[in-house]
Subunit: 321 residues, 2 copies
Amino acid sequence: MVTLEHVARAAGVSRATVSRAVTGSGPVSADALRRVRAAAEALGYVADPIARALARGTGTRLVVAMTGTSDAVLDCAYTGRVLSTAARLLAPEGLGVALRRLPLHAPAAELDALARDRTVGGVVLVNTTAEELAAVPRELRGRVVSIGVGSAVVPSVDVDAAAAAAASVAHLVRSGRRRIAMVTGPEWLPCTRRPVAAFRAAVAAAGLPVRTVPGGFDAAAGAAGAEEVLARWPDTDAVLGSCDDVALGVLAVLRRHGRQVPGDVAVTGFDDAPLAEVTDLTTATHPVERITDAAVRAVLTGAPADGTLFFPSELVLRRSA
Amino acid sequence: MVTLEHVARAAGVSRATVSRAVTGSGPVSADALRRVRAAAEALGYVADPIARALARGTGTRLVVAMTGTSDAVLDCAYTGRVLSTAARLLAPEGLGVALRRLPLHAPAAELDALARDRTVGGVVLVNTTAEELAAVPRELRGRVVSIGVGSAVVPSVDVDAAAAAAASVAHLVRSGRRRIAMVTGPEWLPCTRRPVAAFRAAVAAAGLPVRTVPGGFDAAAGAAGAEEVLARWPDTDAVLGSCDDVALGVLAVLRRHGRQVPGDVAVTGFDDAPLAEVTDLTTATHPVERITDAAVRAVLTGAPADGTLFFPSELVLRRSA
DNA sequence: GTGAAAGCGCTAACAG
DNA sequence: CTGTTAGCGCTTTCAC
């Protein structure tokens, strides 16, 4: 194993100088810099992240903290996508990923524990709530980022779900649908409010009735939502699901009620999950990998909070709508 | 932050003694042990994994190494499940998870790099091949485990896919199917050979024709496999898919050919993925969480290799068969 | 600009 | 059985 010491000897300088040269902190003469770089290159030096973490007091892992009402959220496909992306990105840095669930209420204790834990280098909050953002301890600032809503101190990235909802409505209206309902996401989740508002605005602007029912993120919620839609507005000719799983639940209920899709009722989802293609579901893409990528980089670089960074979503037309 | 030093002072012993008491390594008098425990408890001491890793020369993360022909395997749902489980299990230990793909051929270089990387505490090989097992460097022994096939030095855990295949065939035969075909998993993957062998044995034992076609693990492979099955044996009345995705591909092709499911042809999958429930697919469970759990624990404890530990799979009957 | 020296918190010889 | 003594590899004051 080649250490700082070896590079220092090869370059004819002290360990301190090599450290400064390698990390870019502190002053180093152009000449020393060149020699250190050459030596490091020649020896194939790469800093040990563990020793560095111990000396700096920084952590060696990034915690993905999913907010949710139960541990079930940790097993969903979305969590898996976020984790895979983060783990892959961090692998070359010598950093790892850990997974934790944050309780929906009173998350302060958990967040404080994370802030105190010297092994955590940064935190990515997923499905963040306002209560959670308010509870982010000062010590975590600069190394926490949110996927979803953000705050003045917590930078955030998200998909442009509002645009996706608007695009879905536009497509449905264009293809002749006039009585469009939406099964929304979980009510406690702030970032689902944007697409709902966009949906309401879009149908209202088209002069159509505004129909929404509370939903969630799984097929069961979609099924329940569809039942409610059919009960309240039997003439509905299109349903937007908050995500693909919800849309599949909607499809199951429509089939049970003998409604043809897309003949009688059109259905759209959101995510473009693998099952959307298999089930021929019209849906909008959710670039989870790009979003996670941005979030991880933001944590690593300590990016300041300046509004939410939105990633575009694209409508994928298939048989269902 | 409370360190070893604090506990030592409170217990009236040296740091070394506290270390021995806490880790359980080396001799400590019953009296000292008691006092150290009390002090540690009172102060809420918890060892810093980073300092420990630096001193011991062990890593702070566990690498999940997926074998595959392309990076696409890193994005599949299965990888996500493995990663979520591992990340959750490791969180309380202060350890993280990293994700890497191992090339199908000549994996020795990658494995050597992992062995040399001081940040890696252990490795979980997924979809292991014989070539890979042979290339496991000596330095990795005792901290590497395989999900799939194992070797004399690499312990392994897997699902009992052979039993699942046999159970599926038994169910199909019981319900009157007589011309059963199987779309197998990827040919390069050794652990898929067991269920194929079990399938062949089961149909042969029932006095039925043995029909298998090479497949893979995604819907496209299932579709291609189904086309081949229909071309070679048009009278087939049941198809086993190597996994749920494959079964969905099979379903799509059957539908396209106007075959009724389960009327004309029965279809079964394997995994019991979320989409199996949504699409009413008869399938066998794949306890990925339990398997990963066992694998991670084995890496952490350095369990010796003594044959593959198999986890049971259960048939879930739904509409498709 | 540069080097010497003092740690970060823990483990592991080595004497006693 | 226990304490002392060196480190693990890197960062970071603080003099020069």
